[in-house]
Symmetry: C2
Subunit: 142 residues, 2 copies
DNA sequence: TATAATTAAATTGTAAGCAATTTAATTACG
DNA sequence: CGTAATTAAATTGCTTACAATTTAATTATA
């Protein structure tokens, strides 16, 4: 019966830490697959939104991805340079910059199609745990 | 009865994305508390290990934190500059750099003691969900 | 309508984060 | 013993990430 008082500052008593470490480790596992289509993880999730929405402004994209213009501006310029997206100011409101997917960007989607299943095979998680994890994470995010 | 085939590339069908977003959002929530003791999140988790172990080499620290020397070297130099840790080569094996907590570093611990509970209050999660999340994350990490 | 307030991106500065390489020390082995 | 292989940190180069500020456009209001 150890009378050590609970140590709130032990690394293994933190909930944030495994979240932080896990996110990094999984992003790292994407790397070999993403290298094949020449995207970083952040570029990949931006493309996920663009494959879905075809076109939206930087602010909306940032809301989907939890990223701000400081991160997105250089990233989108890079994707533009590579011909995957276009960046154009909206005529009705010049403050808005509309990012739209290009033909080349659409084509890249086919090469990305099997990434989710390849990743699934890398992560050791039962379907039930995956569903539970998904639920809890979105509960924290909402 | 839509016969749309399942889209594996939808952002909301990804498991990695909420993990990535959640980790960032929670780290962001630490900021006001960590600002008070002048640490970044990464510096904080390094200090967590040092408060616990008192002294260890960069490699071990990196294993605990899932970080490499590329990240740790500049971070530890910063903590050294601030007088929170010392960095000394081990006499028996000069390849090893031993990081050790200082008096000042120990003192900082008291100011950090209430951070975990303050953070707990910020995250909307039942104790059961917190336990489940913890279990699943460590299962992925192991 | 002129000015103030707000909004969207961009910019600036700093800290991570990691792959790949380099340097220096130690260990293995021919 | 001497060279090769291994190991631990450091370094380099590039991309994220975000707070804070700036710029330019739009909207609200005195």
């Amino acid at each position: 019966m150890p009378n050590d008082t609970f140590n709130p500052l032990k690394l293994e008593n933190q909930l944030c830490f495994p979240l932080y470490a896990c996110a990094k480790e999984i992003v790292k596992k994407y790397k070999p697959f993403l290298d094949e289509i020449d995207l970083t993880y952040t570029q990949y999730i931006a493309m996920l939104v663009l494959w879905e929405k075809k076109s939206l402004n930087v602010k909306s994209l940032g809301e989907y991805l939890y990223l701000d213009s400081g991160t997105l501006t250089p990233l989108l310029k890079k994707l533009e340079t590579e011909g995957l997206v276009t960046r154009t100011r909206k005529a009705e409101d010049e403050r808005n910059l509309v990012v739209a997917i290009t033909e080349k960007g659409e084509k890249l989607r086919e090469k990305a199609l099997d990434i989710p299943s390849k990743m699934g095979a890398c992560v050791n998680l039962s379907p039930e745990d995956a569903a539970t994890l998904y639920r809890i994470l979105y509960q924290i995010l909402r």
